[in-house]
Amino acid sequence: MFLINCPYCGERDQQEFKAGGEAHIERPKQPTELSDDEWAEYLFMRKNIKGVQFERWNHAHGCRKWFNMVRDTSNDEIKAIYKMGEKPPTQ
């Protein structure tokens, strides 16, 4: 059970949060111009990394804000948390 530092509320228990999958997959601005393969790349393809992964999380039972998390999926270490729209930290 993670202890997650919501950028708006502070440290809260994991059960207040909802995981939202891989981060930084931007919705294409002009979907109709894309080929089936390009659209499928956006729609279906996810990296599912063992190691450092960028993820979306939502403080669903709190402020309801979405934010990003950098998590090592091999040991669940949360390396960074930053707001939507902010640049991901470089290592």
Binding site: M1, F2, L3, G20, T32, L34, D36, W39, R56
Partner: protein, 1001 residues
């Protein structure tokens, strides 16, 4: 008359408080302070169970939670019965009853014992190998296996006890209150850390509290005397909360631990009532100090499992702490000095110690000298090659070990005894440490797995970190506390320790016998009856990974998770495969450390607290009018209103007819409602719905379909434009929360530039839906000044009005196909509104109807219900709802996916109507649809999604999804059922009023 083996009074046993209890139907006596195990041993009862596979007689092996054999059923036949309880942990009380498990008809005479003689036929992987083929025989095998296996019985009536949860936040959590844990907690609390100390036993002090060995001294006192003084001082320390009888079950990430606090299990039945039995402590600690101690290992030799064979440390605890001698003729078998401490404890109490068999060449410690002086015979470089005695040990046979320790030589000596203490060295209890995700390292010198590192949030102290001697424990603990808690001085700086413990040991993981391995039974996992033979067989058959060997042989798979034998299993694998132990890695220790009851896990969340109920403001009226309810998500919705003993079918037929012939009223308060405001509200709706919204006039309503990005239908509902920048959206009852979440997600992450604000107002409004040809007249009666003409208030429009002083929002929208109104008022006026409608509708025989009639009426019109007629694989095109998908809009959620090659296939499942050839047959929802009856295998074309008998059409109707169904109108298909095939014809899904004439009726 049974023997009394109570040898010397102990301060932990209250001999003035005599307790009577039953074991396997027979009455015994013990004292307050006894465990079931210590009381049985005091009565000379060793045989307490049968092993799982071979049904071999087994005795009490340990004195703690690691016990593999003495697993009992508590209070059998009562509603408080509990299986798989370790007798070594049960504190006795008057009236306690316990019985053996896994034996029939009795532990003394067990029919399954025949398995022991058949054991050559039960090798590792026996069940996998034997019961696989032929597949059709599995049912017979399963019957046999289930009846002969079994670890206890679960209670059959409901649990009478109360359970609770408590959240704890602390600076320092100390797990384990042995000497290291006590000193750690004391110093943490003294330095102003909010500290929590837990221990699974009812008494603080671990094994040091009964450490009376004259050769060890702390500040010139025996360790037990010294520690008692320390414990006494804990009482005066602030910032410290102590929980005994509290076992940490799980250690999750970020220092989140679950512990079970046991409050009443040790009390008599009359004192258990109306008290919390167990409490689950959910602990979040800034720092965790693990002081979980070490477990003594047995030794692995032929027939090492007979009743009377115990851990040497357990014999010492029974003698020193409980004042019980485990035997009258005791022998010890050891590879280190520990057994000598146990032997000395017995000797000092005048209990006979026959001999000590030591696989080492020698030891020069004071305690060994003392044993020699006492005249106890020590056999150096000897090993036990066999034991005898079926239900109780009666002798051991020993031989001299060869120089390379792989065989035995010389003549066999038999030693008569009734109790054997086995000391195979100590294994740090690192279970919780590894559960936290931390890694172990193998210490070549100590030959144990140790915590690899201490971090700023977690340290291991004492013997669980490999410090087995008191002087090492105190010295290392002191440094770790200073480093980790950042403190300069501790109580431990000036403690003087004199110690006579020698670390000399000789590890031989599998001891040789004079017989070949195939003819011996050296048990590694007592609970699951896995022997060293099984492990070697698994290796011969090609298993290499420790995790695979464990599963194949079931070693370590019991309720005790192999706490005693895991190291031997690894050692045997390493020796056989010729690799170093450290390279093998260990198996994973999983929570819970000791089993938890379901009651503890669920706590108060049982019965009516299991889940939240949501009730509408009109709920009381529905209850008073005898509605039947159905669960829709967390909502309790009125399902139908039976009159005078009507069946559900009769009630629904009556309600459905009344709604179309005169007037019906439905409580629609559960529909999700989202208030949408902002200058970009129209643009936002354009992007989330498939149809266009910019041109919707203020005061008008529009039906919308929402897709997922994959093009599949996600939700639907009517949205009304209340103002230039203000909409109210309705969602399905079940989808309300998810739709809000999805909309918020897009607004926050994809379109943050949009000026839109979303507010869930589902609970703020009560909604009554009034329908039927007389609905207009009823509205006229309650709101006389509202112009209800089609010109002023047409279908799909909205008006604000007042019913008396109640403000309301009225939408003229219809889910039944009838002329109808949806009236929304502030939730607190919901029941008032409903009663006013009922009163005004009396002369029109207004009929309240529930969700079942609502479903039937909409099915007559071919209106879908998202989640019933769709399942996340249906596009709007599949639903024949092309009309609602805008061709002009550049983009909306899911639009691009509607043009993927897969979503454009002609042979996708499509929504159609089905009519049965016999109009009286009502299809079963979920029934499969085929076009050929004699195919093998038969091709499934689709299934029935909604099916009813329509009273307004006087025939059965159904909606279904059928592959390529759009082009099958008029085609004959079949529904194969168990006893008959039903003939159906594909039809247009709109069965009633195809031209929508009734909307303005």
């Amino acid at each position: 008359m049974t023997k009394n083996l109570r040898v010397k009074s102990s301060e932990y046993i209250d001999e003035t408080n005599r307790i009577s209890f039953k074991f396997n139907g027979k009455t015994y006596h013990g004292f307050k302070g006894d465990t079931l195990a210590s009381a049985l041993l005091a009565n000379d009862v060793h045989l307490v169970g049968r092993s799982f596979k071979y049904h071999r007689p087994r005795g009490i092996m340990t004195s703690g939670s690691e016990e593999p054999n003495a697993i009992v059923q508590i209070n059998p036949g009562t509603n408080r019965t509990e299986p798989n309880v370790r007798a070594t942990e049960v504190e006795i009380y008057d009236g306690l009853e316990a019985s053996s498990q896994n034996c029939w008809p009795s532990v003394e005479f067990d029919i399954g014992g025949i398995n022991n003689f058949l054991s050559p036929f039960f090798p590792a992987g026996f069940y996998y190998k034997t019961f696989m083929w032929p597949a059709s025989f599995w049912k017979k095998y399963e019957f046999f296996i289930r009846h002969s296996a079994g670890l206890g019985k679960s209670p059959t009536s409901s649990d009478p006890d109360i359970y609770d949860h408590r959240n704890i936040h602390c600076d320092v959590l100390v797990v384990g209150a042995g000497i290291a844990g006590i000193l750690a907690a004391k110093n943490a609390a003294k330095n102003n850390f909010k500290t929590f100390l837990v221990d699974e036993k009812n008494q603080l002090g671990g094994s040091t509290i009964f450490e009376n060995n004259e050769f060890n001294k702390i500040d010139n006192k025996t360790p037990s005397e010294w520690l008692k003084k320390e414990i006494e001082e804990l009482k005066n320390i602030k910032n410290l909360e102590i929980k005994t009888r509290t076992s940490v079950a799980a250690y999750h990430q970020y220092n989140y631990l679950l512990a079970r606090e046991n409050l009443t299990d040790h009390l008599e039945a009359k004192d258990k009532t109306n008290k919390i039995r167990q409490r689950l402590l959910k602990i979040r600690a800034k720092k965790v100090i693990l002081a979980t101690g070490a477990l003594e290992r047995p030794l692995i030799f032929n027939n090492n499992d007979r009743p009377g064979i115990m851990l040497s440390s357990a014999i010492k605890k029974y003698s020193e702490f409980y004042g019980v001698a485990c035997g009258s003729k005791n022998v010890f078998f050891t590879n280190n000095d520990s057994a000598y401490e146990s032997a000395l404890s017995l000797y000092n109490k005048g209990i006979n110690v026959e001999a000590i068999i030591d696989i080492r060449d020698q030891s020069e410690s004071k305690i060994v000298k003392k044993i020699k002086e006492a005249g106890i015979k020590i056999y150096w470089s000897h090993s036990i090659v066999d034991t005898a005695g079926y239900k109780r040990l009666n002798s051991v046979s020993i031989m001299k070990l060869s120089n390379d320790f792989t065989s035995v030589t010389g003549s066999k000596i038999s030693i008569s005894c009734d109790c054997l203490g086995v000391a195979g060295g100590w294994t740090p209890a690192v279970h919780l440490y590894t559960q936290s995700g931390s890694k172990l390292k193998f210490d070549e010198e100590k030959e144990v797995f140790l915590p690899n590192q201490n971090t700023s949030t977690q340290i291991s102290v004492g013997s669980c970190d490999g410090d087995f001697k008191i002087d090492e424990i105190i010295k290392n603990l002191n440094q770790k506390l200073k480093d980790n808690l950042n403190i300069k001085e501790t109580d431990l700086d000036n403690i003087k320790v004199e110690i006579d413990q020698e670390n000399s040991k000789r590890n031989i993981w599998l001891l040789p016998s004079d017989k070949p391995l195939g003819k011996t039974k050296p048990f590694v996992d007592y609970q699951n009856d896995a022997t060293a033979k099984d492990i070697k067989l698994a290796l011969r058959e090609g298993f290499r990974s420790i995790e695979h060997v464990k599963r194949y042989t079931t070693t370590g798979m019991g309720t005790d998770q192999g706490k005693l034998g895991n190291m031997h299993a690894l050692g045997i694998i390493a020796d056989t495969a010729g690799v170093k132990m450290g390279e093998l890695g260990t198996t994973t220790f999983r929570p819970p450390y000791t089993p938890l009851t379901f009651g503890t896990i669920v706590g108060r969340n049982v019965g009516k607290f299991f889940d939240i109920f949501r009730r509408t403001p009109m709920n009381d009226w529905h209850v008073q009018n005898k509605a039947e309810f159905e669960n829709v998500g967390q909502w309790k919705r009125a399902w139908y209103y039976p009159n005078n003993g009507e069946t559900m079918h009769q009630a629904v037929q009556r309600e459905s007819k009344a709604a179309r012939e005169s007037a019906g009223i439905l409580d629609a308060s559960t529909l999700g409602k989202i208030d949408i405001q902002g200058s970009d509200a129209s643009e936002f709706l354009n992007r989330v719905y498939t149809n266009a919204w910019s041109k919707l006039a203020i005061g008008k309503c529009r039906y919308g379909l929402m897709l997922n990005e994959d093009g599949m239908v996600y939700d639907d509902g009517v949205t009304t434009r209340l103002g230039e920048n203000h909409y109210i959206m309705t969602t399905t009852t079940g989808g309300a929360a998810n739709v809000l979440g999805k909309l918020e997600d897009y607004l926050q992450t994809e379109w943050p530039e949009l000026d839109v604000y979303l507010t869930s107002v589902t609970d703020h409004y009560a909604t009554a839906s009034l329908c039927g040809p007389n609905s207009k007249k009823i509205i006229k009666k309650i709101i006389p000044d509202l112009d209800l003409s089609d010109e002023n208030f047409p279908h799909m429009s909205f008006k604000e009005a007042n019913i008396g002083h109640i403000q309301c929002r009225i939408m003229r929208i219809s889910f039944t196909g009838e002329h109808s109104y949806e009236i929304n008022v502030q939730a607190s006026y919901g029941k008032d509104l409903w009663e006013k409608c009922m009163e005004a509708g009396k002369e029109f025989n207004i009929t309240p109807y529930g969700t079942e009639t609502m479903h039937l009426l909409r099915a007559e019109k071919g209106f879908i219900i998202v989640g019933q007629d769709t399942d996340g694989t249906m596009t709007p095109i599949d639903l024949q709802m092309d009309w609602i998908v805008s061709k002009k809009k550049y983009d909306f959620i899911g639009k691009r996916s509607l043009y993927r090659s897969d979503t454009m296939r002609e042979d996708r499942k499509q929504l159609v109507g089905l009519l049965t050839d016999d109009p009286n047959i009502v299809l079963e929802e979920g029934a499969q649809i085929v076009s050929e009856l004699n195919q093998n295998p038969v091709e499934m074309l689709g299934h029935v999604t909604s099916s009813y008998f329509s009273p307004n059409l006087n025939k059965s109707i159904a909606l279904a999804v059928v592959r390529g169904g759009k082009d099958m109108i008029g085609k004959k298909l079949f529904i194969p059922m168990k006893n008959k095939n039903i003939n159906v014809t594909v039809a247009n899904p709109v069965f009633y009023d195809e031209k929508n004439e009734r909307l303005n009726a």
